[in-house]
Amino acid sequence: MNLVTVNLSHYWKRPALILWQVLILVMLLPSIPILLEQKVNTWMTPLYWPLFWMLVMGTMTATYQLEILSKPLSYTLPGHRRIVRKLLFGFNVFGSLLCAAMVLLLYPRDITSRCCAAILVLAFGQILFWIGVWCSYRSRNQAIVGFAFPILIFGPMMMDSISIGQYWLQPMVAAVVAVLSGIVSCWAWRILGRASVFQACCGRHYLGFTGAFSAGQVKKAQREQFKAISVETDEKLSRLGRFFVEKIARNRNQPFASFIYGVMYQTLGPVALMTLKSHGTNLIFMSLVFLLFGYYGKTGNLFIWLMFIFSILGTDLQVHSTLLLTRGRMERFVSALMSLVFLTLLGLVMASVGIAATILLAPYMPTFPIRGFIAEFHALSWQSCYLFIIGAPIVALLRLLFWGKKYFMFMSIIIVSGLMGASFPLLMNIRDNLIQVNWGIIVVILILAWSTFTVYLYRVCFHKNLAIK
């Protein structure tokens, strides 16, 4: 078996990679009918998909390769680093040629415009591929492919809003972009020839795609992140720690209070650990999300709560912790349940702050045309908060159900997200009708969701093993 075969065998031998490949393929399938669409109102959208495809391809290929090279055994195979460079270029050339050929054959324009479009896709595609490679390289231990989803959702909309007309489909422009792409490719070839680029990866933990499903791998990645965090938050963390430690010690003789404080401390501690810069970045990100959803109107009201629902997935209710404290199974049950209640309330408070901000900002926000519509900012409403109160225990239940089975959990999230997306129009109708007609049904669903979670939590805490074999 030669080195190329050994390297490529990762692509079909590892189930998690196959899963990712299938998912990305499913995600990219919509690009084909759009490209084949003859009646396009704008010229950019059909070209957007091949370009997006190249960005994703660059990210994925580089992530695989860096993951492979981070293993010392793989790194030390003679000539493997050169193979990696060749493979990256091979994938790039193959992908961009394929995209360019599709555009050349299918793009519904005259032959000159088609040629220019094909060259543009070929050249831009190459550049985007290298941007994807760079993103993968720079963001070790991050779920890098996540960045593709917002681009996928908002990219076409942004592309349509840019009215640059036919200017780009000129031979001269295509030639300039092609030269630029050549320069970038030469530069990439040179950089990837440096031993230091791959030496920096060897032996260091690289989460990659498959690692994201392994609890052990994720823990390793977190440990590396903890190492990298500066110590400037010491004092803040100490204050928080002192507060909770005092509460725990004071309530030691109470039946459950100390354990509830313990779970809260473990949940809020990592947030306190973030640097000022990280807090700032998060604040800006959240503000942008709220603003964006404000322009979505009613849909934004649903999205904002869905976002908070999925944030529950990231919290650990400490049901399966093997750090032995003085908690028994009953204490685990009560503290997990109370913690979920606390987190739900915390989510409601945080969302309320954001919603209040949109109410204050609404009179001052501008309107602008987009895709033939007038985008108008609407203040977000608190009325759909029941979605979060219902969704939080459902997501926590999923986490409990698939504890230790990351593949299943991932699949269930995909399915639930898909169902939510697919049933969106239905949800909209229900939302409107329920608010106006029947709050009783909402209360029934809410009670059902919480009681199902509570019953299952009870079952886990009293009738199941609390540690992985």
């Binding site: 725990i248 501690g269 032995l324 003085t326 028994g328």
Partner: protein, 295 residues
């Protein structure tokens, strides 16, 4: 009915994981004040057994009683008397070492700060290090500190020295010896490094494929087996050797090494003399005893 003086009692405990039977009708009593070595190969069921004691696992059949209470019903009062170090050493990675110690200490009314400070110094733990950035050995030391800081009545150590370097292992053994000598404590220690365990235990439980093969005092096991080196006075050993209770042997022309069971020393010497050989008898190490016991 659980005996008052029994700390842990397994009664016909069966535990299965899919098709694998991890514990097969285990019955075991652990008395206070004993230092028990739990030994066995990988997959023998040692960790599974220990996790039943603290109620992390529930038996499929049979009962496991800890501190007079069914293990699944253990509450804060019982857990305050139980210390546990496990091989994966789950800790809270985002905390600093000092913070984690304070956090765990907050749950225990009996936390011994002097002991804590002493072991922080002995184990060379830096309180300002992030737990997530500790080496495996340092993590294990911290886990040990957290398990003994409140001076538990029953200390359960699941492969506690697996991540420690030789120096740290010696420190750990000294700590164990000190704990045994100065306090009336029950310790159950599972380890692959039998030479370490040998120095501290007084009772041994040998497990193999989910069953308890031996459960006796270490002295009893040491008396049961012995290793004999026979050296032929005339330069060549006879074809057959007159030791019916030999369970293992290796031989060359002039020398043979035998493992004997239930053998009397005086009788061995006499039998050796009848075939013109000289016999050297020695006690077996725990490694050798384990090998002999599972044969």
């Amino acid at each position: 009915m659980t005996k008052v003086d029994t700390l842990v009692q397994f009664c016909d405990v069966v535990k299965r994981f899919g098709a694998t039977t991890a514990l097969d009708k285990i019955s075991l009593d652990i008395q206070p004040g004993s230092i028990i070595g739990l030994v066995g190969s990988n997959g023998a069921g040692k960790s599974t057994l220990l996790r039943h004691i603290i109620g992390l696992y529930l038996p499929d059949a049979g009962t496991c009683t800890t501190l007079g209470m069914e293990a699944r019903r253990l509450g804060p009062a019982e857990f305050a008397r139980l210390g546990y170090v496990h091989q994966e050493g789950e800790l809270i990675d985002w905390m600093y070492v000092g913070q984690l110690i304070r956090y765990v200490a907050a749950y225990y009314a009996t936390w011994n700060t002097e002991l804590e400070q002493r072991y922080v110094k002995d184990f060379e733990l830096n309180l300002k290090d992030r737990v997530g950035s500790l080496s495996p050995g340092q993590r294990q030391k911290l886990a040990i500190l957290l398990a003994i800081g409140f001076e538990p009545e029953l200390l359960i150590l699941d492969e506690p020295a697996s991540a420690l370097d030789p120096l740290a292992r010696r420190q750990f053994l000294n700590l164990m010896l000190e704990m045994i000598q100065t306090q009336n404590r029950t310790i159950i220690i599972s380890s692959h490094i039998l030479s370490d365990v040998e120095k501290i235990i007084d009772h041994i439980v040998i497990m193999d494929k989910g069953r308890i093969v031996r459960n006796c005092a270490l002295d009893t096991l040491q008396e049961e087996f012995c290793r004999v080196t026979l050296t032929a006075a005339g330069g060549k050993l006879p074809e057959s050797l007159p030791f019916r209770n030999a369970i293992d042997w290796s031989r060359s022309d002039g020398q043979a090494v035998l493992t004997l069971r239930h053998a009397d020393e005086a009788q061995i010497v006499r039998q050796a003399e009848t075939i013109g050989c000289q016999a050297q008898i020695r006690r077996m190490s725990l490694d050798e005893l384990y090998e002999a016991a599972i044969k």
